[in-house]
Symmetry: C2
Subunit: 215 residues, 2 copies
């Protein structure tokens, strides 16, 4: 009513933020480095004050980029957890759909993908929340699997760690950079089946018997 | 007898080469970049001609460094393959002993370890032979396991690829850099037991039925 003439509604601000995040992501892919608010202002041909009003700190800009980067993965995980697929199929969709999406991003622009990996690794504290969220959803799936009798005797965190390690080639952006040509959906499916039939707490002979270690 | 006075025997040349490779490796750790023959001459306080006589090209110096880097891993793999341990124990020793050695190198100097990773990735063609050699030894172990009835129905190359992917956290130097604190021998043993009891060709429900894919 009587606000400043350039006052914008929350939803307008959201859509402008989203547009600027898109611009920022394209700039990252093009320049090979993270984008500052100063660079984004130039990129968007907007006054710096406008950028600052939408992203009050560099960290808020980066977090907005991360949010946009991870949104599709979160949607995939939520759908897989909520689906009424049999448990092995849930696990497969949980990993495979994210893998296929990341692979598409990688193939579209391998250099930009590598830049994102590097930035993510520099800003690992900002990324941590997304890793924790993925662990949260996977823990839910593990609990569902254990109700069906799988992963017998393992605590959730132990099962989580072992499963994360066994599927790391399909979730780690670094592995995508190194061995993308060796990754395939049917191999991921074979790994999921292996987990379901082989993973439990009982030791079955791989570990050395204490005191009987070979030199 | 009547050769030049500075003529050295092949075994002297070998031990001087080994000493220079040690120096080169320390220089790489200290400077954070690969070492040229010029830099090595300065490092060793030797005439450049002497270095060139021992390493006729930059590539030969780099290959000598690689050879020294991988020698312990090769010895471990050969011992594991030749041992008369039960097959699960062989697999475990094959991976665990190399992992423990790499982890010791990593913990001794994480920054130098990271530099080696980067150089190795820049010179992947030189490294390829060692990766192929590890695949060769693992293929032997897989054949032994299949004689005992494990990994039923899988071709050697297929089993090799799946196993390499499932243990990648324990063989990839990149994963060491990222998640070293989450890697542990007892987890590796659990993964090996999982492989032995779960890995076979038969599809058991993880993969989508063709034409019935969820959106």
């Amino acid at each position: 009513m009587d606000g400043p003439v350039d006052m914008i509604s929350p939803s307008q601000a959201d859509s402008e933020r989203a547009r600027l995040v898109e611009l920022a992501m394209r700039a990252i892919g093009r320049t090979g480095e993270n984008v500052t608010r100063t660079a984004l202002a130039t990129e968007a041909r907007l006054p710096r004050a406008r950028i600052d009003a939408l992203f009050p700190s560099e960290d808020e800009l980066f977090d907005a980029i991360l949010e946009q980067w991870y949104a599709p993965a979160i949607a995939i995980m939520e759908e897989a957890v909520a689906s009424d697929l049999p448990i092995r199929r849930k696990f497969y969709e949980f990993f495979a759909r994210r893998f296929l999406r990341e692979r598409a991003r990688y193939r579209e622009d391998p250099a930009a993908f590598a830049v994102y990996c590097e930035i993510g690794s520099d800003k690992i504290e900002n990324v941590r929340g997304y890793i924790d969220l993925a662990d949260h959803y996977l823990s839910e799936l593990i609990a569902q699997a254990q109700e069906d009798g799988y992963f017998a005797g393992l605590g959730i965190n132990r099962a989580l760690s072992l499963i994360n390690q066994m599927v790391a080639c399909y979730t780690s952006p670094y592995m995508m950079l190194i061995i993308e040509e060796r990754l395939a959906e049917d191999k991921l499916a074979a790994i999921i089946d292996t987990l379901f039939d082989g993973l439990r707490a009982e030791a079955r002979g791989a570990a050395p018997v204490v005191g009987l270690r070979i030199a």
